[in-house]
Symmetry: C2
Subunit: 342 residues, 2 copies
Amino acid sequence: MAPVKNGRLLFNEIPEGFPEPGKTTVYDESETIDLDNVPLKGGFLVKTLVLSNDPYLRFNMRDPKVESYSEAFHIGKPIVNFGVGLVLRSESKEVKKGDHVYGLFPFSEYFVQEKFDGFRVLENKEGLPWSVYVGVAGMPGQTAFLAWKEFAQAKKGETAFVTAASGPVGSFVCQLAKADGLKVIASAGTDEKCDFVKSLGVDVVFNYKKTKTADVLAKEGPVDVYWDNVAGESLDAALENAAKHARFLECGAITGYNGEGAPVKNMVNVFAKEIHLYGFLVFTLLEDHADEFYAEVPARIAKGEFKYIEDIKKGLKWAGHAIYEVQAGKNHGKSIIEVATE
Amino acid sequence: MAPVKNGRLLFNEIPEGFPEPGKTTVYDESETIDLDNVPLKGGFLVKTLVLSNDPYLRFNMRDPKVESYSEAFHIGKPIVNFGVGLVLRSESKEVKKGDHVYGLFPFSEYFVQEKFDGFRVLENKEGLPWSVYVGVAGMPGQTAFLAWKEFAQAKKGETAFVTAASGPVGSFVCQLAKADGLKVIASAGTDEKCDFVKSLGVDVVFNYKKTKTADVLAKEGPVDVYWDNVAGESLDAALENAAKHARFLECGAITGYNGEGAPVKNMVNVFAKEIHLYGFLVFTLLEDHADEFYAEVPARIAKGEFKYIEDIKKGLKWAGHAIYEVQAGKNHGKSIIEVATE
């Protein structure tokens, strides 16, 4: 077979505010790949099926001199994030042709992966859509499930507050908190998102753009467990309305990614209320708990125990637009890029 | 014996900034007490010997409608804080005449304590000065010793950063960190205070009013254990220069007590570096560990293992001035009010 087009989404320049499609990222079709003959160097050739689009990507669009938990993107190279793909050829002993693999993918239609490290063959006995494996059964689901288990110390009758509650992490956390018998307060940024969160059985749902978070928490709190996806003003409101011995799960800070987030004024509450704040990264939690997650969660999703919604863009060329939408909060559900079907 | 004068330091009005002697607090000599005949109601009569003057007192000079971990002072009533006194008479089965007791005292020369709860009879087999029992062997020492044990998770070769390092808490923490084999960076607000901290064997000492904390930490960090007595700018610098998996011991926030402290801008580091922040109050730690503390620490102080300095004001009438000095950082060593000798 002759070489085929290999579309890629390239990182083009470090953004100052929101990442603009065509400027921050550029879709490129100049590369071709010979699927039958491209050298595998002991690795395997992957056809990308789905790619995940997560808030933290903005954090990697930085000056590579600034070190952090995940590698900065390189100008002129593809964006990188979790994906699921089909193995077309393999020289690796860990994977064979026809396997489906999960791992950190370059945003390209095809790629050769030399090392298996960090990849996983998905069995998918449940027959879930592959998109689920980058959502509620992928990194966001792992974040919610493993960190809730590790840090929430949830007790029946307590109150949880969850931000970005319609997203794949937040919506999963809401359901875990309800399952543990907590009263759940949750915020999202559009009425449509709030409707979805309400459908999860959450007790108090509000649109933080219309109602002040501090007012809701003053009325419905105090908060024993705070799931922080946003930092800034919501974190300040949670500190002010925290219960004694509250646990704060510091998962992300999207309000700070696209420029300076609101500074936090209420840190005095941390000692006065004996609050513990747990910063965590899913990568660390996975070191010990990955098998446990895959053994339990996909099966429970298949049984309908955990609800989720997806916002799927078809075609890699729309990935830059999808990235912008997630940063601006314009997506509705877990943002997925469907690159190809099998 | 005829009634004697019973001097008291009264809380007079809620301050907006620093607590001013004669305005925020007023020394009052209008009360008398008949030491032989004052009814004890099943309690005991105490002659106050020493009173502690701690930064957190400012936190209690608030509108009593604002609930917090310790009771707000009441206008027209004495300031309350830890003290050591001599029991003159007793109807209580827990204490007898001649005992020395430690507990929360009203700032008055004499008082009747009806309930023993929260008080402790000090044996003082070591013959330490009573002032030590409100300092390094009292609440500040308990704060340092018990929280370091509980939360620091210190490992030899790591780096600690301690703020307010010449105070009774900070200076004890510096010594505990050195004993655990850590490199210790410490800040204080005058060169004289820095000299004392240096004498404790601390590796890097700086005057934060002359040198930028962020610059020192960028050069000498990253910080694995941060002891936060101050919040604001120092906390921000520590977040920026934290090591992965750093532990922050959130002990106090003096920069926020006398007006609005600097808001914290770098909270994004909490999740990105997987930092854990532990807010705590010594009262909670004491519930399980008080006996352990008294069994170990006074003896080690007597052996000279832990150094401390005291700033003693003689006479209750100077207590209001002493309170101002601590809030303004003008004291040098643990601030003590010596009310009487035996």
